[in-house]
């Protein structure tokens, strides 16, 4: 079967870990993929430079939504400075999609990371904005 739809991705798509909104989040960002209409919003709670809670919301394909679920799970407990450095390679590794995969689907997978960076740096200010 298609290597994209492995257990892990389907599991996170069907049972997302951190779907929802935070009340009064410290940071909230939303990004779209105009090509397919995918939308991801990420809310963050930050205390003493550490991400202490995260939620995501949005709609889109299994890849973008599972990626958001795994990413928000991963960054809770992480220092903001470390989250800012979180790379696309790390994310693809986390969700188990090779970078060599269809570039359209890679864009779906990376949408949550783009959203996270937009939140942490401000929209359009992430250093690797072009790539993410």
């Amino acid at each position: 079967m298609d290597d994209l739809y492995r257990e892990l991705i389907l599991e996170h798509y069907k049972h997302p870990r951190r779907r929802g909104r935070l009340e009064h989040p410290d940071i909230s960002a939303e990004e779209h993929n105009p090509l397919c209409g995918d939308r991801v919003r990420i809310d963050l709670r930050i205390e003493n430079g550490i991400i202490t809670d995260a939620r995501f919301d949005g709609r889109g394909c299994a890849i973008s939504q599972a990626s958001a679920s795994m990413l928000t799970d991963e960054i809770v407990g992480m220092p903001v400075e470390q989250a800012k450095q979180f790379s696309k390679e790390q994310l693809l590794d986390l969700i188990g999609i090779p970078l060599s995969h269809n570039p359209v689907r890679i864009k779906c997978a990376l949408l949550p990371l783009k959203t996270l960076k937009a939140g942490l740096y401000g929209v359009g200010h992430a250093p690797d904005d072009d790539e993410v």
Partner: protein, 414 residues
């Protein structure tokens, strides 16, 4: 149409062999190409025709005094004649070669629109239009102060014409698709044209999805402009057609300025060529135009009636089989009456991109997204659909594979 009028399965086997690209595997499965509404595949003779031009008689047209240029010019103009006969134009002077449907519509908006529309004039469109028959009119409205009006659709995805006469008030131009690239709906263009002409409005028809799939006769429809693309009708990319009524084209100012579109050029002003040259500035897509002529010959030899009947049979079979898939919703008419072979659908709980990705892993090529019709998707309150679309080379077995793969998607995401 009767079954005997359509292509027999024997014909199809021979016909499929004419399309080299169909003879390949994708992900270990025979390619099932179900995305012809986006762009069709090309028969060998069209591919050969392109190569023949570059190998034997490549030269610019309408300028050389030498043999090759004469031959290229002759073939280019002969292609114009073939296209004219294909849509029953009164004269081949009514055929303007452009890049695609999009450019044809922009040409009319820029040339006719800028010269004729004033603040408060109205343009009537429908909510099922492709962006290429919407955005040029939005831009024209912004330049001139004209207003856009939209025909609604009913629950079956057909144009609701109950208020047409009221909506036509103050309308100078109706721009409407003959066949929706999402819903498959075939619109009653002749009737709309008759009622539009009664109030003095002109009628532009987006034929991108109709001209490749059914007989289209501009005189019988009694319309004013027709736009279509070569790449969706077995021809190459980069060549499209604007047909316009001669009397209207004659009155229209140029679109792009440059070589070929002039009579006499001075330092400060120029006079312009007659149509169609007036609208064909610069070196045209010569090889592509000639190959479009070849594609038209091919389609006519198969027969547009038979192509329409064949797709209608496939469509009927697909609509029936798709009813068996749990949670699947087809958008557009539920019968084959006045409906072409583009079938857009959603599957409960599965994003259209995921559907398309799983189908791809089965060697089935379909399109997922908004298909350049965002307002129509907004009408249904969905971001995207998955679309399977048929052409003359598709077979019932491909519908079976589509349905089987959709059951697989269900299991995977269930």
């Amino acid at each position: 149409m009767t079954a005997s009028a359509s292509l027999s399965l024997f014909d199809i086997v021979a016909l499929r062999r004419e399309f080299p690209i169909l003879n390949q595997s994708v992900n270990g499965k025979t390619l099932a190409f179900l995305d012809s509404a986006a762009s069709s595949q090309k028969p060998r003779r069209v591919i050969d025709c392109l190569e023949d031009y570059y190998r034997r008689y490549n030269a610019n047209v309408h300028r050389g005094i030498y043999r090759l240029s004469e031959e290229a010019t002759f073939a280019f103009e002969r292609a114009r004649g073939k296209v004219a006969r294909f849509i029953n134009a009164r004269s081949q002077r009514e055929i303007v070669f452009v890049r695609n449907t999009t450019e044809a519509i922009n040409l009319v908006a820029r040339s006719w629109g800028d010269a004729n529309l004033r603040e408060g004039d109205r343009i009537l469109l429908s909510i099922m239009e492709h962006h290429s028959n919407l955005v040029p009119w939005q831009m024209l409205a912004q330049r001139t102060g004209a207003k856009l009006e939209f025909l609604p659709i009913d629950g079956e995805g057909r144009l609701a014409l109950d208020n047409l006469d009221a909506q036509l008030e103050g309308v100078r131009l109706v721009a409407i698709t003959q066949q929706s690239n999402v819903l498959g709906t075939i619109n009653p263009v002749a009737e709309i044209a008759r009622r539009a002409h009664a109030v003095g409005a002109l009628v532009l028809v987006d034929g991108a999805q109709s001209v490749p799939h059914m007989p289209v006769d501009v005189q019988a429809l009694d319309i004013d402009f027709l736009a279509f693309s070569g790449h969706k009708m077995c021809g190459p990319t980069g060549i499209g057609v604007l047909w316009g009524r001669r009397a209207i084209l004659d009155q229209m100012p140029p679109f792009l300025g440059g070589g070929s579109m002039i009579k006499v050029v001075g330092l400060h002003e120029s006079t312009y060529a007659d149509v169609p040259a007036r609208f064909e500035a610069g070196t045209p897509a010569i090889a592509e135009a000639i190959a479009l002529g070849e594609a038209v010959d091919f389609l006519q030899e198969v027969g547009m009636d038979r192509i329409y009947a064949h797709e209608r049979e496939l469509l009927g079979y697909a609509l029936e089989r798709l009813r068996d898939v749990d949670g699947l919703r087809v958008y557009g008419p539920t019968t084959t009456e006045m409906r072409g072979g583009a079938v857009s659908f959603t599957l409960d709980g599965v994003h259209p991109h995921d559907v398309a990705a799983v189908l791809d892993s089965e060697g089935i090529a379909v399109r997922a997204g908004h298909h350049c019709a965002q307002p129509l998707h907004a009408h249904y309150n969905i971001p995207a659909t998955t679309r399977a679309s048929f052409y003359l080379y598709n077979i019932p077995e491909e519908v079976d594979r589509l349905v089987a793969a959709l059951h697989k998607v269900r299991t995977l995401f269930g």
